[in-house]
Symmetry: C2
């Protein structure tokens, strides 16, 4: 279980297979996000059809609603949401720090108010693991503290706490059918990142996550941090860059040795009428598409592009029909998965290093992070 | 084209085949409604999977947005929304009278304000046919006036106008690949209904619609009107009861010789968290379903019932996830189509007359009309 075997390398990029109880992941892999036990607006059948092999769900949200104990009583998250393939849950840490109200952090854990009903809750490393064991994903995360990247002193404290919490998570973990990943923190400080990478690597977890990026720093800072971190991680463990997933970020991350990505971007953009395309990000509400008979991307093999014109999608958006969100989500998720599939082929063929600049050019103007 | 052949009869109920340019309809048939060129929240692939063979779209809505001329320029409604099977459009009359503002009726037509942007428009019988020819459905409707069933004097005037408009529609019609149905009106007055049935039958249209029911009258009044109308209609033409489709209404309508039904009810109920079931209409927001592992209906073969628990559906609703509407729509549409499929089998076996009371009992407590 949880063996990671590398198939090919090209520079720091690599392809591999990560074995999980619900099937093998071919890496690099992009995971769409099913925050509340559903990839928004898509049935599991539609998610499967995008080629997705891994889905992420959020511990914070599912703990609050419908409750991890209820999901455990119903046979776990795979069964609850009918996703029979590999799943990953985060630790809840990021949402406690970004969504919950009135949070109070101490060395033992975090007390916070639910963003749904204002009720008080407390997460500790042990509690996060217990919740994630109830949910039952294949890959689970250590409880971590994601700090403000521009505050060095706090970043250092948060990183130290993240390390102690990672040890406690390992102690608390009971299920053998779940892979617990430690999380590298350290903001945008190269020294802290290096120290964190070395510490987390020393824990011997079956995979290692890189957290605290794509949270407000520049692209150059993210790349610099990856350049510090991945060379310090063991070659034979998958690396997961949390919450990152523009086309550009996938290309740049894989170049720097990242294997696993997740992001809400494709489904969030879909709800805002935007679609990835090699012409750049399209906003399909635009009147220019009213009579456009072309699919979003003539080279895309997704259900939406095989079936519908931009004119029809524009009509659905203009008429406020929810089907628009479904069809754009199908395309956007498939677009990222196709990109990663193409990169896997290029790595296997030894051509990714050479091809990456062309890929970056093709996907430019798509969904730059703010 | 548009041949209607009767396969079996059982009392006044019958099964048959109605030939259209986009395929044969096995009648009785229930058509889900795709008001704005989409059956709300469902892809055409999902609509197909419910067993739907006919989809209705609304002339009033599509004329206003995106415009019938745009749809014609893009190859017609079938191509625009990617529904390759038979389609039906209404005349726009009902929506002009129920949705538009400031309508002014005269013998030539109706002037009204768009409910979307307040712009002024005018429908005449000729205009309605021109729009429906641009849309290109297989079955199109004469422009009619649906009156207040409790106002006898107005009902008579509206019926007379509907008859003159039906003649003008027949005159205006140009496309040979569309079947124009005349519409019987007459409110809840047996004499007016009889006169209207005889007049519309005399026009020789390839099918006949029964309008102005399910608009506020009682069930008993609707049944009484059907008892007056269908015996006066030619046996060899399909009869279409417009806008009607609770399980009970389907059973009672088919009993009285109706062949075609459409209704927004299954998709509208879905958006309000309600599902048809032999236990009665279920509201899946109810906390009683929080741990219920059963499907909505264990005997249902739809994707939703084959796949998901009531507990999961209840979670989606409670978490305001749009997938809930999709999954309940799939079930509700399939439930009505399965009911009609079962009735077809019973008619073919000569058992529907005997079985109808059992069917009514099984589907009672489901979606009574107001």
């Amino acid at each position: 279980m949880f063996e990671f075997s590398i198939q090919a390398k090209n520079g720091r990029a690599r392809t591999g297979t990560f074995r999980t109880p619900h099937g093998d992941l071919q890496t690099p892999v992009f995971a769409p996000v099913g925050t509340q036990a559903t990839v928004k607006t898509l049935t599991p059948a539609q998610v499967e059809e995008t080629g997705a092999s891994l889905v992420l769900a959020n511990t914070y949200h599912l703990y609050l609603r419908p409750g991890d104990e209820l999901i455990a009583a119903l046979g776990g998250l795979h069964r609850f949401m009918r996703w029979p393939h590999p799943m990953l849950t985060d630790s809840g840490g990021f949402q406690v720090f970004s969504l919950a109200n009135s949070r109070q952090i101490d060395d033992d854990g975090v007390t916070f108010k639910s963003h749904i009903d204002g009720s008080m809750h407390r997460f500790t490393p042990e509690k996060s693991i217990r919740i994630q064991e109830n949910l039952g994903a294949d890959i689970i995360m250590a409880f971590d503290e994601c700090s403000d990247p521009n505050n060095h002193a706090y970043t250092s404290i948060a990183m130290q706490r993240t390390h102690r919490w990672a040890e406690r998570c390992l102690q608390a973990k009971r299920r053998a059918d779940q892979a617990l990943f430690g999380i590298v923190q350290g903001g945008v400080n190269p020294d802290l990142r290096a120290a964190s990478a070395e510490f987390i690597a020393s824990l011997g977890t079956p995979g290692i996550a890189i957290g605290g990026l794509s949270v407000g720093e520049t692209k150059a800072e993210m790349h610099a941090m990856l350049d510090v971190v991945t060379p310090l991680l063991p070659e034979d463990k998958p690396r997961y860059l949390m919450g990152v997933g523009t086309p550009e970020d996938l290309i740049e991350g894989i170049r720097r040795g990242v294997d696993i990505f997740d992001c809400v971007l494709p489904t969030r953009l879909a709800r805002h009428h935007a679609a990835f395309s090699p012409e750049g990000r399209l906003n399909l509400m635009n009147a220019a598409f009213a009579r456009d008979e072309r699919p979003i991307d003539p080279d895309c093999d997704c259900y939406t592009c095989r079936t519908f014109s931009r004119a029809y999608l524009r009509h659905l958006i203009s008429a406020k029909e929810l089907l628009a969100g479904t069809l754009l989500s199908i395309h956007n998720v498939r677009a990222l998965i196709r990109l990663v599939e193409e990169i896997r082929q290029q790595i296997n063929a030894g051509k990714f290093e050479d091809h990456a600049p062309l890929l970056l050019k093709r996907w430019q103007n798509n969904a730059s992070r703010k």
